[in-house]
Assembly symmetry: C2
């Protein structure tokens, strides 16, 4: 079963790639990178230091690429998509800074987190600064619709994070409730990133809704694959250690499925691990074994495929363009990603 999961994760790898998206957006991404450096600049040295630490830490920059491609596919030719893509990346970066403080994380993508180098205080405040800069860039673009979409996303993300904090250790959390959390925490920004493209390109309401739905469902698939990888991915490729979620007592879908499908004794084990923090190496091995026995990892990937299918159908009616093809391929890439 474990092998089965690994194979299913690898299967799409050779065929699906993020490359077409990277190539289509590379000229615009160069402008995004310039804008990032300029807007993360400050006379207060610590701000560019921390911002550069995060920005150079090897993320895929999937979110800003979504904004750029989604604007391009409707023929947009101005520079507002570059500003909005940069805003999206800053919102994401601010969230990472605050998340690491909230989760007390030591490592992100194998590198020390900002809070470990500069402290929690600086991480909170530089996150606030980047969020402020993100809003200034959106205001500079001047589209009330884009502002509405992105400011709503900011609220929804934070609300989802508080919800997760409050419910984090409750083993009775259902799959539905968990999906609501990741819809807010992760999918809301994917959704907003994709929707603002057609918005500034002056696309129709139906086209906006298509990209919005694509983003939401891609975000859900992305997060669920992330959850699965934590119990079965290749930690070197992922840049995070397998088992990080477990050690931090994070309630993710593989845990929820294994718990709900487990025996009474197994449920006691899960409560001990997640609620009481009995989550060392021996427990991780046992946890992974239980997940494999109950098909919890494979089925988490299955759920991700389900949302990937919805994302695919969401943009199916749109005119065929290289951007559309690239966005479709990104769905498979996300589901098959080992990066």
């Amino acid at each position: 079963m474990s092998v089965g999961v690994v194979v299913s994760l690898d299967e799409g790898k050779k065929s699906a790639s993020v490359k077409p998206l990277v190539e289509l957006t590379s000229a615009d991404m160069a402008r995004v990178n310039e804008l990032i450096l300029s807007k993360a600049g400050s006379n207060v040295e610590m701000i560019p230091e921390i911002a550069n630490h995060l920005i150079s830490s090897g993320g895929k920059r999937l979110r800003p690429m979504l904004t750029l491609a989604a604007a391009q596919m409707f023929g947009y030719s101005g520079d507002s998509h570059v500003k909005l893509a940069t805003s999206v990346e800053f919102m994401h970066t601010a969230t990472l800074l605050h998340d690491d403080v909230v989760d007390e994380s030591d490592l992100r993508r194998g590198k020390k987190t900002a809070r470990m180098i500069w402290g929690n205080q600086a991480s909170v405040l530089v996150g606030d600064f980047l969020l402020g800069q993100a809003f200034r860039m959106m205001v500079d673009v001047g589209s009330i619709d884009a502002l509405d979409i992105l400011s709503t996303a900011a609220s929804v993300i934070a609300e989802g994070e508080v919800w997760q904090l409050a419910a984090a250790k409750n083993m009775e959390t259902t799959e539905d409730e968990y999906l609501q959390v990741i819809k807010a925490k992760t999918a809301a920004l994917f959704s907003a990133a994709a929707e603002v493209g057609p918005v500034i390109a002056g696309a129709t309401r139906a086209e906006r809704n298509a990209l919005r739905s694509y983003g939401t469902n891609l975000g859900l698939a992305f997060q669920l694959v992330d959850d699965a990888l934590d119990y079965g991915g290749n930690s070197k490729d992922l840049g995070k250690n397998t088992g990080d979620d477990f050690r931090e007592g994070k309630l993710t879908l593989p845990v929820i499925l294994a718990y709900r499908r487990g025996t009474a004794a197994e449920r006691e084990f899960w409560k001990g691990a997640i609620e009481d923090g009995v989550s060392g190496d021996a427990e991780l091995e046992k946890a992974t074994g239980l997940m494999i026995r109950h098909g919890a990892i494979a089925d988490t990937v299955g759920r991700a495929r389900h949302f990937g299918d919805i994302a695919r159908d969401a943009i199916a009616p749109l005119k065929s363009t290289p951007q559309k093809q690239a966005l479709l391929e990104v769905i498979d890439f996300c589901i098959s990603r080992v990066v």
Copy 2:
């Protein structure tokens, strides 16, 4: 000298009051309060709990009142000023939540801080949520000028906080540098709160600038009086304990003045207190004594008066209205306040 300070703080008390401002804005403030409750609402229980804790903690709500009065004085009659005033208060509340985490504060206005009750994590995230809600309300108003002013303020405030964090313990900080920090940390929001009033009322550029300058200088005066009160105010009235800044090793203007005017031995004492945290009750008594000897508290209040004078002249050319009179009285109230 100590008595002299207390007298000068009390002098204006009988004459200057915040009452006219409170009365002129009371109908609008009732709408602000409704909007606060509604926009701090969430199915995630912890959010309204924390928001209500802060909102009911007895702040004067000076900032939203500035927005309301500044809109009224130019004949504004819509409801956008209520939304913007609520946004301003949410921005302030979010800043308080994050500040308390950064400063590791246990008490605010004599009540336990949110982070002591719900934890640092919730304080960070609920602050993010309130900031997101603030932006949504601004977007709802739809004035790009107001959005520009308030989003710029959000960036500037955060940048000032990071600056203070980096420079916090450096005794060589000059008065000029300190003024830059409080201009960003405190005065930027006062300034934005006052300026968005004329902006949505469609006032002239000169009128906007007048209110902007009024807000900036009132904010500077307000902060400097706060600094002075920490070493000489009545702690019961202020709702914070005298000496809090000292115990936390905060570099404020009274400290900067006493340090720069002190002997070499005194400067060693200040370094020990602020840089190395040797700041118990005995040190606080010595610190206050040194400040009085060097006129540091009285001169901090003197500097506050200077900025109060600039605020007064800023709105002097405006047509006489009850709102203008109330805003003028607030300057004296801030300088003479013992709440």
